[in-house]
Subunit: 139 residues, 2 copies
């Protein structure tokens, strides 16, 4: 079963209503997995199909998807900009300071497996890189 269908079922199971707008958003995420879209990106795309959709609906939907753990909020790019990752498995990211693209880093860094540091209990490890991506190398 494709992931978008899995999510739609999961929404129903959780009592979260499945609306055409939400399906459109999920399908967009499905086909733009690598792109790590922002709220604005999602809105700009989905409004083509649903010209009356509002930003509030996009925010609302992404909050629900985050609640049920089907997307992850990223804050790896420019100041105060949020991007979403449709792939919730743990992996790291690379942000290109030139073109703004966010890349997935597939290879696990495996740098930290303790669940405690300095007496603090670790629940989440966040790590990302910034620099110049492959394509922007010579500039």
């Amino acid at each position: 079963m494709p992931k978008n269908e899995v999510i739609i079922n999961k929404l129903r199971e959780k009592g979260i209503k499945v609306t055409p707008q939400r399906i459109a958003i999920i399908n967009y995420l499905e086909t733009n997995r690598k792109y790590h879209p922002s709220i604005e990106d999602i809105y700009t795309f989905v409004i083509r199909e649903y010209p009356t959709i509002s930003l509030a609906t996009v925010y609302n939907t992404m909050d629900k998807l985050e609640e049920i753990n089907e997307v992850v909020k990223l804050r790896v790019g420019e100041e105060n900009k949020v991007n979403y990752d449709y792939d919730v498995s743990y992996h790291n990211h690379f942000f290109c300071k030139k073109c703004g693209q966010i890349y997935d880093i597939e290879e696990p860094l495996a740098f930290f497996d303790k669940n405690e540091i300095n007496g603090h209990t670790i629940e989440e490890v966040h790590a990302y890189f910034k620099g110049k991506c492959k394509k922007c190398q010579n500039s």
Copy 2:
């Protein structure tokens, strides 16, 4: 020479004017090194001494300090909140999801020393933890 004096000299060297408000901000940072204050924190403190200081001045000053590399902007806490670190040497942070405190992680993680990954050139490595801090353990 104390660090706050070093910074004041550095500002002068760079042609950035040293005003009483800026000195007050730097002194606040000096004595609250571990606290990783937000703009609001700084403003709330300095306004006691300078009742007419404006948020714009705090933003402006922190921007200058960041430009001359004497503070680092952190985005490790709650959504869209910026905190400042007066210690610019590379180290990592722990954010407590319960009390909101940001702790320095002194021990180097040494998890990544390459300057390239997947063909991308790494200029900055960002890593931090989230969880429950030592003090908030039993709650």
